[in-house]
Subunit: 212 residues, 2 copies
């Protein structure tokens, strides 16, 4: 039992990525270089993402460029914000934001009879920095982002669309996959996703940005 | 698209649980009453938990009793702490804690060459309130909890053991499943789990506690 508990964090992570790369190689060797996918599998232990995680052209490049340009990373949950690596964030001089608990968002949602997640995305139009939006929970937020892009009111450098669940989740993702939004995206097709997946994708992109 | 984005949160949740109950019924009708399992599936969209989520005798009852007795809920990640429903927590007059960012935990981990997660569990022995420990990330934390229980230094009312990953994760959970720890537990057998699963289990127990 002692041997189990005295591992060091970096050793654990390295060994985990070796196992992931090995098992991913059996599914599709072409995916073994995808640092974002591997970190999502590291976070979920779910190899379904080898099939489900869809990258638009230049999604990773555009995300990294934004992160090297003092981006704001806007999420739809405080869990994702909590899961974003603060050391990497500070090194890159980026900011993580979540408007879900803001009073003006709550009152707007109440007035419009919509989710706070949706109202929190309306607030994003005021952000002037390079913007990465990452949605790990609420399909209503992802749908609203799509609408704002189509209306020309929002032009994020990257949209990470990985809400999880059973109602409108698949549909919100298919909007991006079927009706080209005109911005780079990473989408977890199907029902799966979540705040940990959302944070893992941002962390993977930050680690890549710090290597360059 | 408008119809998709104007759903109300409560309607979305109710419809989600209807779908989950229906699909779970096809896997095993006996599981349809398990509010904890259903909330985990709601959070992950992953029906593997129908097989993987293992409850010791009285786990749910013991968790609810602790939550009605002003429990401290100690997690191994700030993500789980962020994901615990604060309205329910305040109604029950419970507290959520995570020691991962504490300076004394960092220096202890440095001195012992162990993970901060493990060191954060050593700090739990000072908690006097009814204690629920929930591990969504670090197997080293779960292993340390097992050791502290066996040494008679920790007697939690419930251990939620749902770390995720590839190194020592399965082994840390099998400790609880194979060598009866003598305390109630909920364990996600296998590699899967995570901070969202950890928070979902606590939230489900809190919602049940508030019904009684």
């Amino acid at each position: 039992m002692k041997e189990l508990s005295y591992f060091k964090p970096k050793e654990i992570e390295n060994r985990s990525f070796e196992i992931i790369t090995q098992e991913l190689g059996r599914i599709n060797p072409n995916l073994c270089d995808n640092a974002v996918l591997k970190r999502v599998i590291h976070t979920t232990a779910d190899f379904d993402y080898a099939d489900n995680l869809i990258f638009s052209d230049n999604a990773i490049e555009s995300g990294i460029k934004a992160l090297k340009g003092k981006a704001v990373i806007l999420s739809d949950t405080n869990m994702t914000k909590a899961g974003i690596n603060k050391t990497a964030l500070n090194k890159l001089r980026c900011n993580a934001e979540c408007f879900m608990s803001d009073a003006d968002v709550a009152s707007r949602a109440e007035a419009e009879g919509c989710t706070r997640a949706k109202a929190s995305m309306d607030k994003a139009v005021s952000i002037k920095s390079p913007l990465i939006i990452t949605i790990g929970n609420a399909p209503t937020a992802l749908i609203r982002v799509f609408e704002l892009i189509k209306e020309g009111r929002l032009a994020p450098c990257l949209v990470v669309g990985v809400p999880v669940g059973f109602v409108n989740v698949v549909e919100s993702k298919e909007l991006f996959l079927n009706e080209n939004p005109g911005v780079p995206y990473i989408i977890a097709r199907g029902r799966k996703g979540g705040s940990t997946v959302s944070a893992a994708i941002i962390n993977a992109l930050m680690y890549e940005a710090l290597k360059i």
